[in-house]
């Protein structure tokens, strides 16, 4: 069994946010929901300042705080290391969201039929969207994956449940890369089997000094960053856009 993980090369990231866009298109997440988010950071004092970018997917922790506190097991850990959400079981208590130190959970505060980035009602768009009825949903998201009789892929669509990054399990199961990885124009994102010493991710971790976010908490994240440093107290976001409202 593979142990999937992600390696993010901060040296390569230019903050173009193609990964965010790819994620939204693939997983059909509504407005203000970012399963993948790219922070645009600034550090230092003028004139010695530096700008850098940090993509933030779900960390798919091995010792996931969200899995621990979920009262109904809607948030669970798969054998291959993916942390998935059964949105048919979730009761909407948002305890996972409170427990997660990375802020990757998003709650469906309302029926997510509106506020997609595409204005579906616009008549000019009708030829492009082929008359699809919003909310459009990638059919792959609703298929069963793995042995467990639980929801694995997707999120959204249901009012009052939690959702977050799935590492695009519906693509991984088909042997594809997650949408964010596949669409990164600069190969900053890498995905693969951390147990396989010859995989691209394992090689990259060996080649460059790596860190994981908030490693000191003992959450054992599955996402490694190389070629940079964790955000520190003097790291500022350069824009008003917020990953969480």
């Amino acid at each position: 069994m593979a142990r999937y993980g992600m390696v993010i090369d901060l040296d390569r990231c230019t903050g173009c946010r193609a990964c965010m866009e790819a994620c939204k298109v693939e997983n059909n997440t509504p407005m203000a929901t970012f399963w993948m988010y790219v922070f645009r950071f600034e550090e230092g004092q003028y004139p010695n300042t530096r700008i850098w970018f940090m993509p933030r997917p779900c960390m798919h922790c091995d010792n996931a705080p969200c899995v621990k506190v979920c009262p109904v097991g809607a948030r669970y850990k798969r054998e291959d290391g993916l942390v998935a959400t059964d949105w048919d079981r979730c009761i909407g208590c948002r305890y996972c969201e409170v427990a997660c130190p990375y802020g990757v959970n998003y709650f469906n505060w309302k029926e997510p039929s509106k506020n997609y980035y595409l204005d579906w009602g616009d008549p000019d768009l009708a030829p492009v969207t082929n008359g699809a009825v919003p909310p459009y949903r990638n059919p792959d998201l609703d298929l069963p994956y793995g042995n467990a009789p639980r929801r694995t892929a997707g999120g959204g669509r249901l009012k009052g449940v939690i959702e977050k990054c799935t590492f695009c399990v519906h693509r991984v199961e088909k042997g594809l890369q997650p949408a964010c990885v596949a669409n990164c124009p600069l190969f900053a994102l890498h995905f693969g089997d951390l147990d396989d010493p010859d995989s691209a991710v394992s090689k990259l971790i060996r080649k460059k000094p790596a860190f994981r976010l908030l490693e000191e908490l003992g959450t054992e994240p599955r996402v490694y960053y190389v070629g940079g440093h964790p955000p520190a107290a003097d790291t500022r976001q350069i824009e008003e856009v917020k990953a969480r409202v």
Binding site: V69, G73, C90, I91, G92, A99, P101, A233
Partner: protein, 445 residues
């Protein structure tokens, strides 16, 4: 106790059960309207989703969870008066026991309601039973709060039996047949025999021993919902005892409030004397000081080091956007009531009543300050501060829950005597003999 004395007390205590004044119906209607407004607000929230609240993905819990913690704290009132004061043999608690235990049940009903109101999918509530995982602190609450509720309701009922028997015997023909049948059913054939009294005493002792640990467990478990996470400000080892003491403080204050109201409404000036108020005031002050000590210890250990995110949180709480809530809540809720309760010139009945109200306003603010700023604080240095402004829906549901709390007590007071007749009588005798109650005096049974 002389027969006339007995009749006088009985008349005082049973009067409200038999006859209703227009004021009662006005009050009932008022509560129903307020509660109904809360229900309507909730129905709207069910229909449109939690988007109608001020909660968003940064501050994911708000007023509802603050209320949850607050009501669980209030529920300490009954456990304290009926179990803890009983175990220490304080006889003066007797006129209060019924009301205290009733307010525990009412508070626990609201405690149980609040997380349901907060849920995104209340229709899936049975998943907690079907798929419940013991690893989650929420499940600990799910186990302990209903246990507490059942135990408290049982405790309330046990000591109600002799009085229900009186109702059954005396109200023949004066109330509807349905109510009479209810009374004779609930009286369980009570005739005041000595073996019946013995088994009641025995059952009471057992329940007392059961209820105290459950009460402590409840407040601990409520605190651990927060304490088991990585959030700044919640990552504390003293949260469980901190919450227990907070509940004692809040519960004692509620008792003084209720005692004042009942004394006025039922004209029990002879039975609930200034002495009662003063003693409860001392206890409230003592708990207030312990709570203050905990608060001080908690903030000093984080504030002294003033590192990283803790520094940001404390600055925001004490000098930033929450300071307008923190300082008034702290001074008016923790310092002022303690001073009022101990100073010889201010520990009078009306002042103590005011102080008890202040305590619970302060404690509510304190709950809010525990819940919200820790959630608003940025997670990684990357995130900004979250913003939380409660909406009208949340306010309506909150006010409605307080009306619900009062509603339970009001309706109960119409069906059953709210002052325990059979328990109050021997206390009155003792007071006549000894010239007044003693704080922990051992003349209980």
């Amino acid at each position: 106790m002389s027969p006339t004395e007995h009749e006088r007390l009985k008349a005082l205590v049973f009067q409200p059960v038999i006859r209703s004044t227009p004021v009662y119906y006005l009050w009932l209607a008022f509560l129903l309207v307020v509660f109904g407004a809360g229900v309507l607000a909730y129905l709207n929230q069910l229909n449109r989703g939690l988007v109608v609240t001020g909660m968003r993905d940064a501050v994911v819990w708000g007023l509802y969870i603050s209320n949850f913690v607050f009501f669980s704290g209030l529920s300490m009132a009954g456990t304290f008066i009926s179990a803890i004061l009983r175990i220490t043999g304080a006889g003066w608690r007797r006129p209060l026991t019924r009301l205290a235990e009733l307010s525990t049940v009412a508070a626990l009903l609201m405690t149980a309601l609040m997380p349901v109101v907060d849920m995104g999918r209340p229709d899936r509530i049975l998943n907690l039973v079907r798929f419940g995982r013991l690893e989650s602190p929420l499940l600990w609450d799910l186990m302990v709060i209903p246990t507490y509720l059942v135990a408290s309701a049982l405790y309330l009922y046990l000591f109600l039996i002799p009085d229900v028997a009186v109702l059954r015997d005396e109200l023949k023909g004066r109330v509807s047949g349905l109510r009479r049948r209810l009374y004779s059913l609930l009286a369980l054939g009570w005739r005041g025999l000595s073996e019946q009294r013995q088994s009641l005493e025995w059952a009471g002792t057992v329940m007392m021993l059961v209820v105290i640990p459950i009460g402590v467990a409840t407040h601990s478990v409520v605190s651990w919902i927060f304490g088991m996470t990585f959030r700044v400000g919640w990552n504390s080892t003293i949260f469980a005892p901190y919450f227990v003491v907070g509940a004692l403080y809040s519960g004692t204050a509620l008792l003084i409030t209720l005692m004042f109201i009942i004394r006025r409404l039922y004209h029990l000036e002879d039975y609930l004397t200034e002495q009662h108020f003063r003693y409860l005031g001392y206890l409230m002050a003592a708990f207030g000081m312990v709570y203050f000590y905990f608060t001080f210890a908690e903030y000093l250990t984080t504030g002294y080091k003033l590192g990283g995110e803790e520094k940001d949180l404390l600055e925001e709480v004490f000098f930033g956007r929450y300071s307008r809530l923190v300082w008034p809540g702290f001074l008016a809720g923790q310092v002022l009531p303690v001073l009022l309760a101990v100073h010889p010139r201010t520990r009078t009945i009306p002042v103590l009543f005011g102080a008890s109200l202040l305590v619970n306003v302060g404690m509510w603010l304190k709950r809010f300050i525990i819940v919200v700023p820790s959630l608003a604080a940025p997670l990684l240095p990357a995130y900004g501060w979250g913003i939380y402004i409660p909406t009208l829906t949340e306010v309506a549901v909150t006010v409605g829950s307080f009306a619900g709390f009062a509603l339970v007590i009001t309706i109960f007071a119409k069906l059953f005597p709210i002052v325990s007749l059979w328990e109050t009588e021997p206390e009155r005798e003792l007071m006549v003999e000894t010239g007044g109650p003693s704080l922990m005096g051992g003349q209980d049974d």
